[in-house]
Structure formats: C-alpha cells, structure tokens
Amino acid sequence: MTEILQTAINATSSGGFYALVAIGVALIFSIMRMVNFAHGELIMAGGYLLLVLAGVPLLLAVLIMILAVVLLAVIIERVAIRPVRGANPATLMITSYAISYLMQNLVLLTVGGEPRSVAVSRHLLKPIEIGSLNVRLIDLITIATAILMIGGLSVLSRRSLGGQQMRAAAQDFTMARLCGVRADRIVAVTFGVSGFLAAIAAVLLVAQTGVLNTTMGQTPVLLAFVATVLGGMGSLSGAAVGGFLLGAATILLQTYLPREVADYRDAILFSLVIAVLLVRPNGLIAGRAPVTRV
C-alpha cells in the first residue's frame, strides 16, 4: 500500500510538471497554429537567469526571473515570429525551432557548454516522513503549483476579457479580429502568458534537478508536444490531461515494467502513444477539429 501511494505521488508530480509545460505549448498552438519549440528555451533561459541571480534572495530572484522570461517571450514573438505569422505550419515550426537553436547556441557562446549546477533550496529535496511515506517537498510543491496554474488559467480564460479574447482567437482568428479583437495585442498577451508558464516550469525543474545545460528545455517540450496531440490539439484541458498522462505513464512504466524490458521504456511509451492516436486521431479530448467541407 505504502509503495503504491509513493509511486502515485511521484507519478502525479511528474504528470503535473508535464501538464504545466504542455499547456504552455498548447496555448500558442491554439492561436497561432504553431508548434512552439522555443518554449523549451524559455525554460532554459529561466534556469540560467536563476544562476545569474544567485546572490539575490530566492523569492526576489524568482520574481525578477519570471518578469524577464515573460519579456523575452514577448520580444521573441515581436522580432522573429510576427514576420512569418500566417505562413504554413511547416514554416512556423521551422521558425520556432530556429529560435530555439539560436538561443541554445547563444548560451553556448556566452556561458559555455558544460553543465552548471544551481541550488534553489536544499530543504525542497529532503524527504519528509508522513506516516510511513517518504515525500520530497518539491514533489508536493510541483503538484500544488500545477493544479494552481491550470485552475487559474482556466478561470482566467473564462472570466477575464483577455482570456475570452484569447479563446475567441483560438476558435476563429479572422472572425475574432472582425469582432474587434486586436490581433497583435492578443498574440503578445498569449506569448506573455506562455512565458510565465515557462518561468514557473523553470523554477520547478531547476529545484528538482539542480543542473543547468543548454538543452535542458528540449526534452520536456518535445514530450509536451506529444502530450498536446495525445490530449487533443487546440483544447487546454486536453493538453493538461495529455501532459499529466504522459508524465504519470513514464513513472508508472519505470516502476512496474519487468526488468528485461525496462530499458525499452521510452519505446513502449511511444508505441502506446501511436496506439492511442490510432483509436482517437483527434486526441483524448477532441477540440473542434477543423474539417474541410466542400
């Protein structure tokens, strides 16, 4: 029983983290139809900013970092993404990858390629005993943060004007503009929000691993990208569910796979993804898929 609970907490924490990254990716996708690889480099930039701000009190450092990453996200949109807005999906995707490649290598040029360590707080990683359970504080914080962020975002997207405009733009961008939604502003706001989510993910990731390297954001975002499609493209709840399932499945497979095939965990995981997509091609929670009618 204890063991099952222990695994459940680990799986929930991992799932929560991927859900957080996945909604950041899904947010941009829903409005721009762009797969935003650069989201990972926003996370990476957040991590390195924490390194730069090492002397500053933690809370202040995190605040400054969040602001800087939000600003960075908005600047990236303005400088690199706006020129290709509305191009075909392949072009958009290559653009976002070029940005991510550029940022990785700029860090390589300036900071260097060797991994850096940065400690957010030792207390977070120490296991605490609850009954017979050994739980790390960071896992609980990750779960709580993910719930808070996803909940907050879904309330905001329904209740606030910006959120409603965002949803309108996601449904039909041209129609939303005709109804008076300002395209440039809503896209900038969306990127800002995704930057905020990336910054939060950066704090959690760095607190969890304590290691920085130039490609640290790439794997989470690639998985988040899979998660978004798995959950259902274009719906935030779909992305959250997909991210959660993928993260949780990783831990569960790791724990319960027989030893002989445990090395092939990822191969099994992604075969499952293909299988799910075959049954539900539009994802688990299908948004309104654009169907071409003649």
Binding site: I31, M32, R33, V35, A80, P83, V84, R85, G86, A87, N88, P89, A90, T91, M93, I94, T95, Y97, A98, I99, Y101, L102, Q104, N105, L106, L108, L109, G113, D172, F173, T174, R177, A183, Q218, L222, F225, V226, V229, L230, M233, D263, Y264, R265, D266, A267, F270, S271, V273, I274, L277, L278, P281, N282, G283, P290, T292, R293, V294
Partner: protein, 360 residues
C-alpha cells in the same frame, strides 16, 4: 506539367538538377581533400533531403521520423560491410549469419535501402491512418522509439558507445552517382500516376478524395519509397564517416534535414536540392570563420557555437523573407529565351500547402 510539351521541356527539371550536381562534382573532384569531403557530405544530404521530400513534399505531411530510416540503413550497412572480426568485439555481438557477411558498399547500400523500405512499409500501415499533426506526432514517436532502440540494442548498435571500423569507400563520383539516381527516382515518382494522385491530395485533400484518390494508400507508397531513399542515404553516411553513434540520428540531425528542405522550398524537387546547396554553402562559410581566420588583417578568434548561431539566423531570415522557401514551390525550368513553343500553362504554381485558418 503538360504531357504534350517536347521532351526537353518535360524533363527540364531533372536535366537542370543533374547538370548542376555534375558541375559541382567535376569542380570538387579536382579540389582539396577537405573540399571533397564537404561535397560528398553535401551529395549524401541531397539523398537524405530528397528522401524526405519524396514523402513530405508530395504528401504535405511533415515527418520527423526519417532519421529512423536513415539509422536503419546506416546500421545495416555497418553490419554488412565491417570486417568479421570487429563484429564480435563487445559490446557488439551480431548474429551468426551477419558475422560472415562482408559486402562492398554497392550491394550493402541496396540491401540497406530495401531493409529501411520494408520497415517503412510496415510502420506506414498504422501511421498513415493518422492525418495532419497527429501524423507528424506519429512519425515523431517513431523517431523516439528508434532512439531508444539504438541506445539499448547494444549488440547491434554498440548502444551509447560508438560503432567503429566501418570501411570507408565513398568518393565524390560515387556519391554523385547516388545523388543523381535519387533525383531521377524522385522525379519519376512525382510525375507518375501515383505521385500525381498524392500531390493532388496534398493540394486539396477533400477534392482528391472526392475524385477517388485513396489518400492513405498513396501516402503509404510514398513513405515506403522515401524510406528506401533515406536508408540508402544512411548507408552512404555510415560509409563516409566510418563511425556511428546515436547522436548521428538525434533530433538536431533530423531537424537539419527538415530545415534544408524547408529553406529550399518543401513542395518541389528543385527546392529540396537547392536547399541542400544553400545550407551547405552557409555552414561551410561559417565553419571557416568559426575556426578563426583573419579578414583584411582583422583577426577573428575561434568561437565554438558560431556556426549554429549563424545558421539559425539564416533560417529565420529566409523564412521571414520567403516563407515558402527559396524556390517557392516552383521547379527549375529553362530560361525563357531558350524555350520553344507555348508553355505558360506549364508555369502554373502550386497552391498553398494546406487549407488553414487565415492568421493575418
């Protein structure tokens, strides 16, 4: 393409592309060793990018999974061409029938292509049931599965270590031959009935389906054919380097191939070839600067990472200025003054890749 136009007009694209590739090969074969190495690499990239184009360019479905087929080709070639003694050195431990095989590159590359094509044909059955982004993610999952297998099947691939000792025999003219052959195959396919049906489905899925095109079937054919080409590309690649490791088939490698295709223009064969040429030129130029040179008496120190930064900036610039690639979906044709007869109809451009919301 107007089937009634005279032969030189109908075959303008392959003639011009092959001529271009041949001129580059002739110039390079007299050059330095490092230039020859660069050009061989470029020709192999032509094979890989045309392989990707055969599927993605004609179908409009992006594939992240093509490095998997490339990897299959590369490791099959390694298993067939390496000296028997090296094949049992741990962590390697190839099965008996492979240990004794000691082929030269040509048969090995053909077998590698067939092997990759078979795998391609098999995975195409489930993957091509998916459409749009789900299909893209399906190929991406294939890529991740392949990574995992390379890392863990260490008796076949040396796992996380490098597989060394693959005999090297590529020359400028042998890689030239493969590049030319692949361009001709790709052209033959895209002007064949099957190719035209697939291109019709790319331009308008609903209309093609209504006209009786079995889109899944056409996509399966294209994926299998492009897997064969990618497998051959992988064979040549392993033969060029003599060493293989899992990083050769990483996401960055996969992306470089996609980037070359998109920079040139995803929807035409000319775009695929031009994209390889342009990206190779830029990367070589940047590598020279990165190594540290002096320009007009000004010392430029060596900076690792600069090639990549420059390449990324080039990509962003090209995409901002020409979102549909350098050739913009057109094929190469004779200059207007040499053209005989009436041809304006044949100049028709390809419509946009797919119908999407107009994000202004």
């Amino acid at each position: 393409m107007n089937l009634r136009s005279p032969l030189p007009t109908r075959f303008a694209t392959p003639i011009l592309l092959v001529a271009g590739i041949t001129i580059v090969a002739a110039l390079a074969s007299t050059g330095s060793v490092s230039l020859q190495q660069t050009i061989m690499e470029m020709f192999i990239n032509v094979v890989l990018v045309v392989g990707l184009y055969t599927f993605s360019g004609n179908s409009g479905v992006l594939s992240f999974g093509h490095t998997s087929f490339m990897a299959i080709g590369a490791y099959v070639t390694a298993a067939l061409t390496m000296p028997p003694l090296l094949k049992q050195q741990p962590p390697l431990g190839l099965p008996g029938f492979l240990v004794d095989a000691h082929l030269s590159l040509l048969p090995a590359a053909l077998i590698a292509g067939v092997a990759a094509g078979l795998i391609g044909a098999i995975v195409a059955v489930p993957l091509m049931r998916l459409t749009g982004l789900a299909a893209g993610i399906g190929t991406f999952a294939l890529f991740l599965i392949c990574q995992d297998v390379i890392k863990n099947a260490s008796t076949l691939t040396a796992g996380e270590e490098s597989l060394v000792g693959i005999p090297i025999s590529d020359t400028v003219w042998s890689t030239w031959g493969w590049a030319v052959a692949v361009v001709l195959v790709a052209f033959a396919y895209q002007t064949s009935r099957a190719g035209l049906r697939l291109r019709a489905s790319r331009d308008n899925e609903a209309a093609a389906a209504a006209a009786g095109v079995d889109i899944r079937r056409e996509r399966r054919i294209a994926l299998a054919l492009s897997a064969v080409i990618a497998g051959v590309g992988g064979a040549l690649y392993s033969n060029l380097l003599g060493v293989l490791s899992v990083t050769d088939f990483s996401f960055a490698a996969s992306f470089l191939i996609i980037a070359m295709l998109v920079v040139g223009g995803m929807t035409s064969l000319s775009g695929a070839v031009v994209g390889v040429g342009v990206v190779t030129l830029v990367v070589q130029g940047l590598r020279t600067v990165e190594a540290g040179t002096s320009v007009a008496g000004l010392e430029i120190p060596a900076r690792p990472g600069m090639t990549e930064v420059g390449l990324a900036l080039l990509l962003l610039l090209v995409l901002a200025l020409r979102p549909r690639g350098i050739v913009g979906g057109l094929e190469l044709r004779w200059p207007r003054t040499f053209r005989r007869g009436r041809t304006p109809a044949a100049l028709a451009t390809n419509p946009p890749l797919e119908i999407t919301d107009d994000v202004a």
